[in-house]
Symmetry: none
Subunit: 216 residues, 4 copies
């Protein structure tokens, strides 16, 4: 590994500032976390998007959430085929090893991955159709969701509908994982679908009784 560079100086200074303040004032808690291991109450699956920080929205401290972040907060289908499935591995670890009580899928507005899926499915992004497009192939997970929303004429509304379909697709796929289904049926795990609007700071949850997303 010849290519690695030292950390940019501004991050070194900021780290040293954190070490001298936040870490220093809370070192007992960090030592506790190191010695006793993690016992997170929930797993969150959210997007890599830099604008979505679930720990901020929920005032969560170090140790509270086990967090997997990928493009468009998607969970693929259950495929125990021996191939490398990073999202499935994270879910398996959270549910079977950490035994989290909650599994939260958090979608968001202005999602670039969802916008890419929409462009791809409507014929406006041929490059995403290529076999070598990792983003395109990843967004294939949401293709069935696109079929449900494609007739909505307003593009902004369609984008939001598809962002929420991404959350529902993930929740549905999760229920196909035997260890998830068993934990849910044993009432040792509950699933939650959320969608946040970045600009307004709004948060909606999926209500299966009403079949839609509503403000929390």
């Amino acid at each position: 590994m010849k290519a690695a560079k030292p950390l940019p100086p501004y991050l070194v200074r900021r780290y040293q500032g954190w070490k001298a303040t936040t870490y220093s004032e809370n070192s007992t808690w960090y030592k506790h976390l190191a010695n006793e291991g993690q016992h997170p109450r929930a797993m969150v699956i959210s997007c890599c998007d830099s604008r979505v920080h679930v720990t901020s929205i929920f005032g969560a401290d170090t140790g509270e959430f086990f967090i997997h972040r990928n493009i468009a907060n998607l969970v693929p289908g259950y495929e125990p085929d021996g191939a490398q499935h990073g999202t499935s591995a994270a879910v398996e670890y959270a549910v079977t090893a950490l035994k989290v009580a909650h599994l939260i899928v958090l979608g968001h507005s202005s999602c670039g991955g969802v916008a890419g899926c929409m462009a791809m499915c409507s014929g406006h992004a041929p490059e995403l159709l290529e076999k070598s497009s990792f983003v395109g192939r990843w967004m294939d997970i949401l293709k069935p969701g696109y079929e449900k929303v494609k007739d909505e004429p307003d593009p902004e509304t369609r984008q939001r509908m598809l962002e929420k379909e991404a959350v529902l697709t993930s929740l549905n796929n999760l229920m196909d994982f035997p260890f998830v289904r068993e934990a849910v049926e044993a009432q040792s795990l509950s699933l939650h679908g959320l969608w946040t609007e970045i600009g307004a700071g709004a948060l909606e949850y999926y209500d299966p009784a009403k079949g839609g997303f509503y403000p929390v």
Copy 2:
């Protein structure tokens, strides 16, 4: 999707507190992020572990880092085979669409995924060898790293060595992605390898000249 539950009340209350305080006092920034889009400076690949919050260590606010989190902060090999590769999709999006300037891989102490890899490779976790084990198959990425450290007699030292091998494996695999290599060679992207010790709040970086990890 019948199984979804409303958000636990403690999270609803915390969200409402955030909305009334942090969001309310900084709504201009959230609106700016929604209207102007994200321009993160760096992508960070870190572990799902609840004890590792890169935004805290670096005093980073919403919008600064594009963050992918998976088990043991691993990047798999470059496989443009048309299958779903979530990590590869996140890297592709960050490098080709967002054009981030830095790609940081952050490993950490007491990593459960790395411990699992060690147990599996040394014959103490047969369940991880099963084809259906998502964690096991994911940790296969680190098998070559295990070969390099397996002769270290002290188990704690061996674990740390393997945690650092996870960072190096990811950095090496990243360089096999054509769009990463091209951006690195064009000096529009730099790679960085880090490892943090949770209890001591320490941070080390990989120095290719010395061939090891050193305090920042």
Copy 3:
């Protein structure tokens, strides 16, 4: 332009040192800034004083803050009269072209411009009253502020009060610029008033609810 001289050797050497180290190690970021343009989150208006480095206090790197510096961090009144207003031009560019989310006015202790204003207004600096005094005419902006603090008997306290009035005068004047007012009312821009004490490294912010400056 006959008068220009080459750079003093000590600055040449330091530049070459920077080029060989900081620039070289972070060239990807500089190239990124050059290719992708600037997206600063905030504009800062601070004093030319060599002792006040806002980037240092806030651990800010290249690219984070759009910075205007003038004597005593003053914003003049809104005067769209076709004359050359450098401060107003900087504010206009930051708010309408760059669409910054924050506009921070940073005052400081031991401000020479503020001391000059005090001397001028109290009759101890007749040279500053002359039409040709650029510093005097510039400090006229703060004359109404002097009226508010002139009865304070302790000179040191009076100086600090006037330094803080300089911040408030600038904030008030900013709200008279239509594009600032509109952005503030649309919640796409927030204003912040700060004052720093150089020797103690202290930082205070203006709290409109309490009507004064308080430690951050």
Copy 4:
């Protein structure tokens, strides 16, 4: 002043980190600066652009440079008309009160103000011609410079030529200020013209003997 908001939390945390590290380790220097006043060796006039930090390029610490920053690092003509001239006030203070030894004008690549001037002068930005455009009226200072470069066919070359004309215009205008000319003639002040290329980290200075800019 009702509109002021508290500082965003990320800046509060970073300030506290600076206070606990950089300030704490150098408090004697900050106290010295507060007690003994500033004695900067040079004044720098540079652009507000977030990508141009002269203290970084020259490894300058707190107290070294008296810095005025405005759009496109321009010095207007000498006009002792009793109106508010912020740039002229800063120059007057640096030369007559602080008696700096060097006055450095630093231009840079990709300057948005210069690009605006080019667009305005070539008829592509009618909004900048309006009387109420502060940026437009400020960039009027550079109109004579545009006349000198307008026949260059390549737009990128033309932009760079005009960026350098901005530096020369400022140096020429400075020499019209009596206190600047006197100090230069008394050899107690030297003027310097610089231009930096952001992406390459290059630095050029104006050589009056050769009549052009050359690498330092």
